[in-house]
Symmetry: none
Subunit: 238 residues, 2 copies
């Protein structure tokens, strides 16, 4: 019975998600931990540790070079800490998902990490195989938070008055989705670039950039790029 289940699960995995391996970069100062992480992850054939760094500066270089799917980031690094590194990472328009890894469970550290770009928070005593699962989850965009700190994270969320919460209203109804290209433009827009700069980045004319921005504004139902940027940030579109 159990065998059947696992079999089914693997078969399903193979068809859907496991078409390519997940590339991972490890940023961790302790050599021993680094080796342990690498071994634990590389034991999974769908996960591939492509590089390792022992400090944030080196890590950022490797991240920019390899553009991995997932980054395992230790928070307690010498020099630039993991949180600063994550912020820098986001600034360089990096799409990699970040797993914050630490042995601490201080509330501020958890919140700081998650609000600075981490998609997951793991304590270092995590089961190695579980970590592999988290890597897979996070690579698809899931937010995963260790049991030890999950509650304090949830408590930190702003309480929303649930009056006026209407189950009837369908949200994404009249919403026109942005095209891929428009999303690219939106990212640059959010980073504060002018149309000219966006055009330069995407190697198109200013007219094209303007056309995309115009279209974005209409689809997002906003009047100017500031509103678009704020809405994008608040709704987590970028």
């Amino acid at each position: 019975m159990h065998l059947v289940k696992v079999g089914l699960y693997m078969a399903q995995k193979t068809e859907e998600t496991k078409t390519k391996t997940i590339s991972v970069i490890i940023v961790e100062d302790f050599k021993l931990t680094r080796v342990g992480l690498r071994c634990a992850l590389n034991a999974n054939e769908d996960i591939n540790v492509v590089a390792e760094a022992e400090d944030a500066v080196e890590g950022l270089k490797l991240i920019e070079k390899h553009k991995p799917d997932v980054i395992l980031m230790d928070l307690g690094l010498p020099g630039m800490n993991g949180i600063e590194a994550m912020v820098k990472c986001k600034e360089m328009m990096c799409d990699s998902k970040i797993i914050a890894l630490t042995s601490h469970d201080r509330c501020e550290e958890v919140i700081a990490a998650l609000s600075s770009g981490a998609s997951a928070y793991c304590l270092k005593d995590i089961d190695p195989q579980k970590l592999a699962d988290v890597v897979r989850d996070v690579s698809t965009g899931v937010c995963w938070i260790d049991p030890m700190v999950a509650q304090m994270t949830l408590n930190a969320l702003p309480k929303i008055d649930n009056i006026g919460f209407l189950p009837n209203k369908s949200s994404s109804e009249g919403r026109v989705p942005l095209t891929e290209r428009e999303f690219e433009v939106l990212k640059h827009l959010v980073s504060g670039k002018s149309n000219t700069e966006i055009a330069k980045e995407l190697i198109v004319s200013v007219h094209t950039a303007k056309a995309h921005v115009c279209s974005i504004l209409q689809k997002m139902c906003v009047n100017d790029r500031v509103q678009a940027a704020v809405k994008a940030v608040k709704e987590g579109m970028v």
Copy 2:
């Protein structure tokens, strides 16, 4: 390979928490969805759906009676909605972990659910086997959030000043604080108002508004109002 992993994981579990199977209660108004959920979960021998309810009132009774490990709670219930039910659930000192289940991806709904007692947020198009994984995860206390809404949730977390995190850096050193008036202007700026509109709101001339904006940009070390707005939102200044 996979078998070994499952074996190890279960062995570990057995010592700690999983001496018995995970009991689950489903609260969902659509009969068809209810059947689907039950089948998907009961196909796993370590998960046992002990009861089902089609509305919140009935659900709460069953929860009090069975005290399940995990509750699958639909948010769009008739009468008392899922969020109210979760609040009531916490009030009755219930230790069950709650998975919020919905097809909506509205930001307020997500935050409301997670801040009202849910440990996980799943969209209904989740893979059935994945849902079983989430049930296992959540039963150990993990916080799990669907990729579709993960980013917006993380963005809702309060931003913590991450400088000063390390013993090295002295925290808000070279930072010039905004004046009260400038904060007012910033708020309007973030809401996407033009200088003219800001001036009208504050009953000052456009020149004044512009002067404030100019000063804000310099103090925040950004080049334009878009960057200022994004930074303000990201750092939770507004």
